[in-house]
Symmetry: C2
Subunit: 378 residues, 2 copies
């Protein structure tokens, strides 16, 4: 059986929320989906088999990091990102647009793209729509993101509008580069990215421009950059509805568990965030009763699991007391176990959200989740 | 079926080398055995199930580290070291004698024991034969080591002799504390430690004193502390033969692969060393063709495994190129995969040594191993 390149089917809806599945050559992505972040060709501190066991159907790779180290051409010579890291399910790669502005040195923007110096070795590079698409093709990405321009949320409306408009011109170039590069025939899909900050009119113009070009899926960019949950939700009250109903909607870089619940209620299908992995390395665990800091002395002799409601292999085997010890002692195993638990927490949340939508009970689930999650903080 | 407390059976001999099995309540230890070091209640960067999968029948825990963090009484309240770390096979604990001299601050020795300040928080502690045995009992150790006194190898013969004699008095007290504490009834065994530096007469006196006391097994202490392989082997030409033939002989803190091969040829049954785990965290991999530094640029595009002769899950899945990338990028997964390979390498070497002894071909195996291992260095 030949698997489709990209086939999104909506299975159930509940209010604006929906469940579905994206069938691709390397596997099927159940939506709403959370994508663990595998920045440098690794979901930090986890083996790929453990990432898959958590329920993750897809992971994210970072174009900016990978083009600098080990290098896109090198990854291609080594057989692509999947072969290199031993992950055979789909991978979405970002365009590098966000990281180049937040991590690179001496960035210089023009209509052509963004030139910059590597934060690793000072070497000069250019990221443009054409180069970003080429890099993502070299990596062997399954879902390629259009290259866009980001400006601080504190920018003036004029600057925001100009950045959105340039991003739409770059979306045209990203589409053309993707189509010219033969990536489509290799089984990859291309997503456009809606910009326009928190402004409904700019978001509408951006969505219309993207739909004129035509993409396999549509991302909502430029959120979760410090505007706060209320402002983000206000934007998500209109942004997903501006995008095609029959295409996946991907909210980039989001987020906290309650961010995800609220975004799913507003019609978002895909998420990625470093929070579960990064928190795992700093001693924060996610639980149904909110986040807890395992370094806290109250866990030192607690023989219970991180989260009694959790079905992950970590909670089945090890106590808070052991994790407290490992994290306090700076042991690598502490980062490993905390990360794995957190990824399971996120993937279990997505499974619960999908199940709630399928039985038409999302509001009940979401309200109870928020009450439990926000009722007790560690 | 009730498993024995401690039953050592020799299965085959080949020259001075022998294979055998130590049957204990928590499992059987195939000898010659290599014990991965789990200093702080974790074999660093490995899950216990992966340690077991490598073929390790027993691991080592460090009394000094564990008494300071998380604390022996705390470990006991949490159900012991096995329950805490999720390892159900035997654990050998050292006595703390070596670490207290190499790691602690402001150590003060007397006939009573060694008082010191914790290198972690400056708190004052005493390690004596009685306290060491008590700590090991609180940890739930399966093989408890007598508390001994170590002096630098550069010490005068008089200092060496005095330290050996004190260690023998402490061996008497260790035996008495072990017997009084009820540890025996809980299924634990007690090993004495031969001292006497490189001196055959001192080693003989020490062995005789230990045999007068009587132990389940006998360790050879005070080697692998900088004397070099030739001097160590010269000592191992007589030391194992001074110990009871029907008891396991444990060479503490050894060593490099060729150290282990030579010591097995000289009649040693048990080993522990941080080398495979520590090297894994610094980018050194063990292979049949010698150690290699994965950071070396020549591995950057090598799609082959770390060691083509290796059956470990790392070599089955990931390339040198990927490990090179991970280690260069400082990724935790690099430390995880390199460590796991190295532990597999050590355990596979022990399995090969046992097989060679069983077929009467140890000399052939050992000579070929040395030729291959020392022929090519990375």
């Amino acid at each position: 059986m030949t698997r489709p390149r990209f086939d999104f089917a909506i299975h159930h809806t509940d209010g604006r929320a929906r469940t579905g599945a994206i069938a691709m050559r390397r596997g099927t992505i159940r939506t709403p989906a959370f994508m663990p972040v595998g920045t440098a060709a690794t979901v930090k501190a986890m083996k790929p088999a453990d990432v898959a066991a958590s329920g993750a159907d897809i992971i994210l790779g970072n174009t900016y990091h990978l083009m600098l180290r080990p290098g896109a051409e090198r990854v291609a010579r080594l057989g692509g990102l999947h072969a290199l890291m031993g992950w055979d399910r789909p991978i979405l790669t970002d365009s590098g647009g966000y990281q180049v502005m937040s991590l690179a040195d001496l960035t210089k923007r023009s209509e052509e793209g963004v030139s910059f110096k590597s934060h690793l070795d000072g070497s000069r590079h250019l990221l443009s729509p054409e180069r970003s698409i080429e890099v993502q093709r070299l990596l062997g990405s399954d879902i390629v993101m259009a290259f866009d321009e980001l400006v601080p949320t504190t920018s003036t409306p004029e600057v925001q509008a100009a950045a959105m408009e340039r991003s739409m011109r770059w979306a045209v170039r990203s589409r053309a580069a993707f189509d010219a590069g033969g990536t489509h025939a290799e089984g990859a899909a291309l997503f456009g990215i809606q910009q326009g900050a928190l402004d409904e009119g700019l978001r509408r113009s951006s969505a219309d421009a993207l739909m004129d070009i035509g993409f396999d899926g549509y991302a909502i960019g430029g959120l979760a950059v410090g505007e706060g949950q209320a402002a983000m939700f206000a934007c998500l009250d209109f942004a997903p509805g501006q995008l095609p109903v029959d295409r996946p909607r991907y909210l980039m870089g989001v987020g906290k568990p309650t961010d995800i619940v609220g975004a799913v209620e507003r019609g978002v299908d895909m998420f990625d965030c470093v929070l579960p992995t990064r928190s795992g390395r700093t001693g924060q665990a996610f639980t149904r009763n909110g986040p807890l800091n395992i370094r806290n002395a109250r866990h030192a002799e607690d023989t219970g699991p991180l989260d009694p409601a959790c079905a992950c292999p970590i909670c089945a085997t090890w106590s808070r007391a052991y994790l407290h010890h490992l994290v306090r002692a700076g042991e690598i195993l502490g980062a490993m176990l905390m990360t794995e638990h957190n990824i399971w927490f996120y993937e279990a949340l997505m499974a619960d959200l999908r199940a709630a939508i399928e039985r038409g009970g999302l509001t009940t689930f979401a309200d109870r989740f928020r009450t439990e999650y926000e009722g007790e903080k560690a």
